[in-house]
Every structure is written in C-alpha cells, then in structure tokens.
Amino acid sequence: MGASGIRTLSRSLCDILNAVGTSERHGTNIVTLVNFDYRGFDTLGEEYILFAAVIGAVLLMRTHRGEKTSARPGKVSEQPVPLRTDAVALGSRPALGLTLIFGMYVVLHAQLTPGGGFQGGAIIGSATLLLYLGFGYRTWRQVMPTAVLDPVEAFGAGAFVVAGLAAMAAGAPFLTNLLPLGKTGSVISAGEIPLINIAVAIAVSTGFAVLFVEYLEETREPDAGDEE
C-alpha cells in the first residue's frame, strides 16, 4: 500500500523501472529515462503541445496587432509604464550569465541529476527576460529577431520527430535509441537522451522567448512613423 492511501493492486511498472532503469539505460535519473526513453512518445506529444500553444499565441497577437510597433513603451495617463528601473538593470546583467550557465547545466545533466530539457529550457527562456531587464528593449529585440526565433523553435520540435524517424529508417520501432549507451555517470551517456534533451531545450527556451517577445510588444506604442 502506498502512503497515498490507495489500495494498490500492483506497483510493478514503477518497481521495474526503478530496479532496471540504470543498468539498462546507463542513466541515474529514472525520471529522465522515463521521459525521454521509456515514454519518449508522450514527451514528443507534450513538446508539440508547447509548440502549438506558442504558434497560437503568436498568431493571435501578431495578427491582431498592427504590423509594426515602436520601441517606445506604452503610456498610462501620459506616463510611460516603467517595467524596469536602474537598479534592476544593474542587477540583471550578472544574473543573466549565471542563469544561462545554470540552465545549460540543468539541460546537460538530465540523465544524471534532477533536470532536463523542459526545466532547463524554461530557465534559459526566462533568462532572456534578464536580457531585457539588463540591456533594455532595443538591444533585446536586436539579439532576438523573430525571424530567427521561429525557425529555431521549429527545428527543436522537428528534431525530436526526426530522431524517431531515424530509428525507423534503421529498421527499429519509432524512437528506439540508436546510439551507444556510454558509461553510467558521464555527461555523454544514456544514448540519445542528451541529444533529445538539447532539442527539447531549444524548443522550450525559444518558445518562452517568443512568448516574452510577443507579450512585451503588446506594451509598446504603435509605430506612428513620426520618430525614427
């Protein structure tokens, strides 16, 4: 009986995975092994939910907004709406680097310690906010043009499917691991998991970045064409 108080009929699936996961897949984080190997197909679906939600939000906001917005913040009762102050700007710059490194660490050690493409991607995506807070809207938009973000996100999403299809091309079932498993405990281990993790992290982080860009665009003045 589990602590949750449910009269459990069998615990076999979870026990099997905890018992054999590490020796079978050469990774120590069973959650990641479940996510990206045993039940990788679910994760593929989840990644596409995220992808679809972001496309949907972009479609909604970009088509409802005029074609162009300026870099000037919008106003409420003649006062520009301040979203960042000097102190915040100063603090954000060093935080940006730290957060990015931490996010990448979380992505790359997924099969070993807690972390993975989803969490790391969310952290990296949020780090782009620090870019805005630290360097301002204009720089931020120059570093991350939408024309680049969209294809990169699509690449992240598509790469997962392609990994699955590659297995089929090799004659194995969809999403079967093709790479050597490596040494348990090293960063490059557990077969394709690190690669898929990076793909997911790309899709998630650009997804969040696109959302932030689109949302902040909503707070800009429409481009009247009289300045700049």
């Binding site: 459990t8 045993y38 679809a52 939600a53 496309i55 949907g56 479609l59 999403a157």
Partner: protein, 597 residues
C-alpha cells in the same frame, strides 16, 4: 504494415515543423498543397492499417521497442484496431477536404494555420490509435490546445469572448482527465489500457474507480458537447473560421464520444462498474442532449450557431448508440459518426461560402442573398434533409442500427423521440435554406436587424473550388452505402468491444480470433424517416409561412412556447462561471448515479 502506425502521427508533425521552420520561404499556395497532400497520405496509410487490422486482428506497436515483460507493459503502445484506424482515415479525409476548401484563404499567416491544422490531424490520429491512458491524455490535450489557437484566430469576429468560454471549460476538462488518470494509476500502477483492464477486472468497483471513471468520462463529455457540458460549443463555433468549424463539428466533438467508448471498452468494461446503472445514465444523458440541442438549434438565426447546436443534438443520438453498451449500438454509433461528420462538414462549408460571398451569416439578414448560388442552396437543403432522416446514406444506416439496439435493450420508445430531434435540427436548416436561397418567409423588419457586426471571410477563391469538397463529402455520405461499409463497421465494432481478446493480444501476444459481428438490420423501418421528415418539413413550413397565418394564432403559439425557449435561452447566457457550475453539476450527477448503484 505495422510501421505505418507511428507514421500517421509522425508525418504530419514533421511536416508542421518544416512549414513553420521555413514559413517565410514558401511561395503562396505551397502550404495549401503540402498540407492537403499530407492529409491525403495519412488517410491512405490509415486505410491500409484498417485493412490489415481487419484481417489479422489489432496490430500492436510498441514505441521505442519497449515490449511488455512478463505480461507487464513498460512503454507506450498503439493498438491499431479496424475502428481506430478507420476513424483516423475518416479524420484525415475530412482534413483533406477542409484544406481544399480553405485553399488560399490563409495566405497571409505564413503557413501557421496549416502547421496548426496538421498538428491537429496528428493529435486526432494518435487519439484514435493509442492504447495508453497517458498518451491518450497527451493527444487529448494537444487537440484542445490547437483548438484554442484556431478558435481565437479570426480577426473580425464580433464574439472573440466566445473563445474564452471555450478555452476555460475545455482546460478544466483536461484537468479533470489528468486527475482521473492519477487516481487510476494510483489504484493500478499501470497506464496501458490492456494492463489497466486486467488490473481492474474481477474487483468490485469502489468509490475511487467510480470517481476516476466519472472524471475521465466528464472530461470527454465536455469535448463531446453532451448536456450539461455543451455550453461552450456555440460560442466556439461562431468564432472559429468555417474550415476549422468543419473539423470541430465534424470530427473533434464526435471523436470525444468515440474516445469515451474506447475508454469504456478498453479499460472499464470488466471493472465492476455496473452496466445496470451506466446504461440508463448514458442513454438518458444522450436523449436529453438530443432534445435540448434540437430545440436550441431551432432558436438560432446565425447559421453557424444553428449548425453548432444541431451538432449537440446529433451527439446525443451518438451517445445513445454508444451508451447502449452493445456491439450493435456501437456499430450504429460509428456509422452515424461517419455520416454526420460528412454532412455537417459540408453544411459548415456552405456557411463558409455565405460568409465569403454574401458577407454575412445571419439567416434573416441574408434573406434571398443566396439566389445566385443555386448549387450551394441545393447542397444546404440536401444536408438538412439528410440530418432530418432521409432514408439513404451512412447516417440513416447508423440510426437504424441504433434503433435496433435500443429496442433490444428495452428502449424501443426512444426511436421516435430521436427521429423527432433529427427533424428539429433538419427544420432549422431547411428554414434557413428556404429563407436564404429562395427568399421565402416574411420580409425582415427594422427590429429584425442582425445584432452582429458585419463579418466577412476573405474571398479570393472561386466558388466552384469551395463547392468541390462539399459535393465530394455529400457524395461520400450517399455512395458509401453501396459499398459494404455497414458490414465492415459491424466487424470493427465487434473487435472494438472484445475486451478480453484485445488484452490478451496486447499483453501476451495471443493469437487473435475474430469475434462474431453483431447482426445487421434486415427490414427497413420507415417510421423514423417519416417522423423526422414530417417534423422537419412541417416546422420549416410553419416558420417560413407564419405571416400567412392569422395573427392571433401566431401570438397564442408564441405565448405557449415562449417560456420554454426563453428559459433555454437564459441558460446559454455566455457567462463562463455559470458554464463551469453546470459542468460540475453534470459531474456530480454522473458520479452520484454510478456510486448509488
């Protein structure tokens, strides 16, 4: 042949990513062509799968090669049975038609529309084929998310807030389903349908299993627009672009009922949830849905809202078919699903033509505006007659099987009621056809002006291109009768309901022995079509000719029926909080009835 199973999902997904990745590179019309081709390919693959599954029994495909160990499922499986594959094929065909219909319509959004639609298609194919509970949820959620995105897309819609009602209620549906999965997993430690079924069978259903069942079914009923979970549907349909409505009404709503059937037979059939309680519950919910939907549909003057509520009504009939919990009833439901999807899709496309050509969707405002489009009018009227019960086509065959199954379970009295509800929805459509395409009915007065703003869907494609898929879909509905579709569906329903054999095939690799198909209908009952058609034609004639009747008579009739319609109208008030309250009430009813038993 197995390798086609994952491709039905993977192909549209990868094409969607490519379309977005190069969004700015594609010449206009390319995304249209690529999307239509992809949908057609998926349809062909699914047809092959259905054929293979009909011959050799369900094909089991384990993703990542994680086959069961000692009878315990480790990974995710697709269990491709003829019904699921047939459903996927049908979905892909409707998508193909919808892509042809919307050719060039969405040029300015750089393939985003096409990518979303392809993800939509993949989600539904996966939903129909999967044999794993959480995977089922993932595709369910993927469907919902894409639907949210597509609903809010139309820019000039006057009722964008309808999209909010839709998203909030359906998001709650997703949470309900996830909670149900959690409870069920806690009880059984399994996610595979077959494994769940094996773990649950032989035990009496206690409160936890019943709660889980109620949550899962409730979630599917929200998507399936079953009363009282249906409130979002018209709000969503009046906002979404017509090609998307084709998918919503023709597929996504009925496929949720299909999903409920899948859950029942794959997981709960042996779980000790008493059929004695479940059958009347589902049958009465279905009947209530059919009646409510029919009445509310009749009140609408916005063509798309009318069609949306008629979908509610038809989902009630479908639920009765499924809820009889017999292979025969299910076979009827599946045929009905096919027929309804084809007809309703065609009708929504007519709505799209009206929006594109006449810049309006309000039936009274459009009086006579359709005179220039006789073919469109004929298609619209034919659709109305088919929904009302014209004794030809797949939908009619489905209705006959449902009636027969109802009779076998002691619900013979339902057949005329269901026929009459079909008549109600047909009446609304025929009334619209008479008014729009023949300029029948009274001249609209000042106060009759449409409350909606001017709406228009972009028209940059010839009418014949839009008529093409309409004609093809109606032809399918009528012609497929000539092929042994009905017999094939009965065989599919038999293997769909053979829970024990499916479980053994999936977990133990047992050889498949085909179960006997339920009997077909031997003698045609003319009672149903007569009731349906007379209700439809009668009400349509009364409404269109009301200015010829003595004024006092009309006033008395309005007074007599007014309270009913205004009460129904007040319920559909567009306030999301009320919708959510209704939803919880429905959940309590389902859980309560099953728990008391």
């Amino acid at each position: 042949m197995d390798f086609l199973a994952p491709l039905t999902v993977a192909l549209p997904l990868v094409v969607a990513a490519i379309l977005i990745g190069g969004a700015h590179l594609w010449p206009s019309q390319w995304p249209d062509a690529v999307a239509a081709l992809t949908a057609a390919t998926v349809a062909i693959m699914a047809v092959f799968l259905a054929g293979a599954a009909a011959k050799a029994g369900p094909l089991v495909y384990w993703f990542g090669g994680w086959t069961p160990r000692h009878g315990i499922a480790i990974g995710i499986a697709f269990v491709v049975d003829p019904a699921g594959a047939g459903c996927a094929a049908f979905v892909a065909v409707i998508f193909c038609a919808s892509f042809v219909f919307s050719w060039g319509y969405f040029d300015q959004v750089h393939a985003r529309y096409h990518a979303l639609m392809l993800i939509f298609l993949a989600a539904m194919a996966g939903f129909a084929l999967t044999g794993d509970l959480f995977n089922f949820f993932v595709f369910f959620e993927l469907m919902s998310t894409v639907a949210f995105a597509l609903t809010g897309y139309r820019l000039e819609a006057s009722a964008l807030e309808g999209a909010l009602n839709f998203t909030v209620t359906n998001a709650i549906g997703s949470f309900l389903m996830l909670a149900g999965i959690g409870l069920l997993y806690g009880r059984t430690g399994a996610l595979n349908f077959a494994q769940l079924s094996r773990a649950l069978s032989g035990h009496s259903a206690d409160g936890l299993v019943i709660l889980a069942f109620a949550l899962l079914i409730g979630a599917l009923f929200i998507k399936g627009a079953i009363v009282p979970f249906h409130f979002w549907i018209a709000d969503a349909h009046s906002v979404a672009p017509s090609p998307v409505c084709v998918i919503f009404s023709g597929i996504i709503v009925p496929i949720a009922i299909f999903g409920a059937a899948r859950l029942y037979w794959s997981v709960f059939a042996g779980s000790g949830i008493a059929q004695a309680q479940l059958r009347p519950l589902l049958v009465w919910l279905g009947t209530a849905t059919a009646v409510t939907g029919g009445l509310v549909a009749l009140m609408q003057r916005d063509v798309k809202r009318l069609l949306a509520f008629s979908t509610v009504s038809h989902m009630g009939v479908l639920l009765v078919g499924v809820g009889l919990l017999s292979a025969g009833g299910l076979a009827g439901g599946m045929l009905y699903l096919l027929g309804h999807g084809l007809v309703k899709g065609a009708l929504f496309m007519v709505g799209g033509i009206l929006l594109a050509s006449c810049a309006g969707i309000d039936e009274i405002e459009l009086r006579g505006a359709g005179k220039a489009f006789p073919l469109t009018g004929i298609a619209y009227a034919l659709g109305g007659l088919l929904l009302a019960g014209l004794p030809v086509g797949l939908e009619h065959q489905g209705r006959e099987l449902i009636d027969a199954a109802a009779e076998a379970h002691g619900y013979a009295f339902l057949a005329p009621i269901l026929s009459a509800t079909g008549g109600l929805t047909g009446a609304g459509i025929l009334r619209g056809a008479g008014r729009i395409f023949l300029a029948l009915g009274p001249e609209p007065g000042e106060e009759q002006q449409s409350p909606s703003e001017e709406e228009r869907e972009q028209q940059d494609r010839p009418v014949w291109l839009m008529l093409l898929p309409i004609g093809a879909m109606l032809a399918c509905e009528l012609m497929l009768q000539a092929f042994p579709t009905e017999a094939a569906v009965r065989v599919a329903a038999a293997s769909f309901t053979a829970t024990g054999s499916v479980v053994a095939t999936v977990l133990d690799g047992a050889t498949w022995s085909p179960p006997p198909a339920p009997p077909g209908v031997t003698e045609t009952q003319m009672m149903g079509p007569i009731i349906g058609l007379s209700v439809a034609l009668g009400i349509a004639a009364l409404e269109l000719g009301r200015h010829h009747f003595p004024r006092n008579l009309v006033r008395v009739a309005d007074l007599a029926l007014g309270w009913l319609f205004s009460a129904l109208d007040r319920l559909h008030n567009g306030i999301v909080g009320d919708y959510v309250a209704w939803l919880m009430l429905g959940l309590l009813v389902i859980g309560g009835v099953l728990a008391i038993g």
